[in-house]
């Protein structure tokens, strides 16, 4: 039987570790909502800040449309909250 090289052993060890990491959690099942859940979660797994920025801008625009210029009061309140 062919002896594994040091590099092969390292790759195998990395693969084993990755397998442990990935299989650590049971998969999520939400019935008929599962595909929607998986689709939504995919946006938050890698580089979620892209989605966060878009969502935050959308909410701010909605705030401006609903409350008009008086939405600045929220900024005043938040600024005094630190």
């Amino acid at each position: 039987m062919k002896q594994l090289s040091k590099k092969d052993k390292q790759i195998l060890e990395l693969m084993r570790k990755k397998q442990v990491e990935v299989s650590n959690l049971p998969t999520q099942e939400l019935g008929i909502l599962t595909p929607y859940y998986k689709n939504l979660v995919s946006y938050f797994k890698v580089q979620p800040w892209k989605g966060i920025i878009l969502l935050a801008i959308f909410i701010v625009v909605m705030f401006r449309l609903i409350f008009g210029p008086s939405f600045v009061k929220l900024a005043t309140l938040l600024q005094a909250g630190f």
């Binding site: 650590n24 580089q47 979620p48 966060i52 701010v60 600045v72 938040l78 600024q79 909250g81 630190f82």
Partner: protein, 214 residues
Amino acid sequence: MALSTGTEVAVPSTLIFGFKQVFVFLKLCWGCLNKPYETYRKLSLYSFSHQLIFILFIMVLYFLAASTIKEGLADGKLNIVVASFKATLVTLFTFLVTATTLYLLGKLFTGKGSFFTFLTLWSFTLLPTLAWFLVTAAFYVLLPPPRTTSISGQVFSAFFIAFSIGCLIWKLILYYLTLRFSLRLGTIKITAVSLIVGPLLVIYALLFYKVPFI
């Protein structure tokens, strides 16, 4: 090839270890922002508890800065130290009470995992909190409130509110991942825990803070 002059000073191994830990911490912070799912999985599987010292350090620095802004240097340095010490103690108490409540509730919903792992993951949810408070404190000095309804006032308000919402969403993602990875809860159970803890936190925040440091 460089020749030895015989005057090199050996770098202490503790210093190298310290720099390495700072690098690991920065990498974890970036991971929490860029790849939160993968980073939290690593945090739950391997021991990163010693990284909490950096979060505590930034928190103490923030409270020192915030107390200086609120109290003012003219009122004396002792007031600043006392105020920041009080704020740090209150925050640590709130942090531990919130963590314990969440952990016990998670356990009630058949969650599996150690409290120490939970505490490590929960500590990293303080990153968006710290980011928000540090930026808000800086803006309080640069552009003190109140905001006006002028164009520049509205533009800044829009930017600031968007930043605040962004931090909140980031916080919620890390909160979800904490319960998911440290207690292995599913989405339905996490929602149930949140429905119990959420109102309690809102009542607590409204009673004691404008914006709670959680």
